[in-house]
């Protein structure tokens, strides 16, 4: 009886950890529900009840142990982790790994963060800004300065996000920096159009994950999580807008 209890405990722990990692890193709710249900099913639980929101998860399986809660406290965007959880879940489904291994690897994944190297992130921020400025505005001469301003704006966002960890404030500061740099560079004769430089440089800050997830959550019928993510996206957009507007006031 006791070993069954242990097994149930492990099932709950694994499924809840997998769910928490996925929500923390920007997955939509439907995928989390699906993955957790699969884990419970593949581990041998006959039924499972789930209640998933973007601030916490509640899960129960039939068995010895009661329902358990897993709060979701932080929220970042790291889609690699979602992909890894997905892979592990698939491997578990075809019995390539045991439940214990699955659980251990999830705990390990939770602690390690494997991002792209910093210089590559900075370069890709530049590579989002410049090309999109050309695509949107057809202004080839401003390509290089937009790359530079976009990379610097993203650098401000990255550093502030690391130290103060309030996403909206970092976005605001980054947008204000971009505005100042754009005006300054045109003033110095490095660029032609303040508008075009700002439009391109702001693109790395666009809240793409919350927008997409919000729409998908609402369509899937998660009327709590979808609008919550929508608000997240809206506040991000407003923070960027205020940053730019504040600078333009002093133009």
């Amino acid at each position: 009886m006791s070993s069954q209890k242990k097994r149930d405990q492990l099932i709950l722990h694994t499924a809840l950890t997998a769910g928490r990692i996925m929500i923390e890193n920007g997955s939509e709710v439907e995928r989390v529900e699906d993955t957790m249900e699969r884990i419970a099913h593949n581990a041998g639980a006959k039924t499972s009840q789930l209640f998933v929101m973007i601030t916490g998860i509640l899960m129960a399986i039939n068995g010895e142990v009661g329902a358990q809660i897993e709060p979701v406290k932080r929220r970042t965007f790291d889609l690699e982790k979602i992909s890894v959880v997905n892979d592990l879940s698939r491997q578990f489904a075809v019995h390539k790994i045991t439940l214990q291994e699955f659980s251990n690897r999830l705990d390990h994944l939770d602690k390690s963060t494997k991002y792209f190297p910093f210089w590559l992130q900075l370069l890709s921020a530049a590579m989002v800004s410049g090309p999109l400025e050309v695509v949107f505005r057809h202004n080839l001469p401003d390509f290089w300065i937009t790359c530079v301003v976009g990379a610097l704006g993203w650098l401000v966002f990255y550093l502030l996000n690391k130290f103060i960890q309030i996403r909206f404030l970092s976005e605001f500061a980054a947008a204000a920096t971009i505005g100042v740099l754009a005006i300054w560079s045109v003033h110095l004769g490095l660029g032609n159009s303040v508008d075009d430089i700002i439009i391109g440089s702001v693109m790395p800050l666009v809240p793409g994950v919350p927008i997409t997830n919000s729409v998908r959550d609402i369509l899937a019928g998660n009327l709590v999580s979808g609008p919550a993510r929508g608000v997240e996206a809206l506040v991000s957009a407003a923070a960027i807008g205020f940053g730019i507007a504040m600078v333009l006031q002093f133009l």
């Binding site: 690699e80 890709s124 090309p131 695509v135 508008d195 997409t212 807008g241 730019i244 333009l248």
Partner: protein
């Protein structure tokens, strides 16, 4: 649109989509597919606008294509769909209009700002509706697949 412009836009969209993917830390294996889906979505939008379909329909069809293509890529690569459709959406974001809106509000020209505000709302709504339609296509397709087996 001349051929050079076309090439520049293809390259720009591809690079920008991949760049955004790197910022979101999507796995390396998914980057190439995401880039091409971004290019395709943007050109569906672009060609519909050129042929006089209007920017709302253009954005909607672009989003539909991104949604459908992302599901195919997710099937081929056996990876979650959001790895492909989030970066691919970036070229469709109404960044230009949103900026103009903010600018004219900041300068106090509210009537001009409202024109851009309406455009931003229309485009965002069109993209959301496009995702809805793509979901419909995907679900029908899944049904058909399951039925055939």
């Amino acid at each position: 649109m001349s051929f050079t412009e076309f090439l520049i836009e293809v390259a720009g969209n591809y690079v920008a989509t991949i760049g955004f993917g790197i910022l979101l830390n999507i796995p390396r294996r998914a980057l190439n597919y995401a880039g091409w889906i971004g290019v395709m979505g943007y050109f569906v939008y672009k060609f519909i606008v050129i042929w006089g379909g209007g920017y709302v329909v253009g954005n909607m069809m672009g989003a539909v294509l991104i949604g459908v293509a992302s599901l195919q890529a997710a099937r081929i690569k056996k990876m979650p769909m959001i790895l492909f459709n989030i970066p691919a959406l970036v070229p469709l974001v109404p960044g230009g209009q949103a900026y103009q809106m903010i600018k004219y509000f900041a300068l106090g020209e509210n009537s001009t700002a409202f024109v851009f505000l309406i455009q931003v709302v229309m485009i965002s709504g069109a993209i959301a509706f496009g995702f809805l339609l793509s979901e419909l296509v995907n679900r029908v397709q899944q049904r058909v697949w399951r039925h055939r087996r």
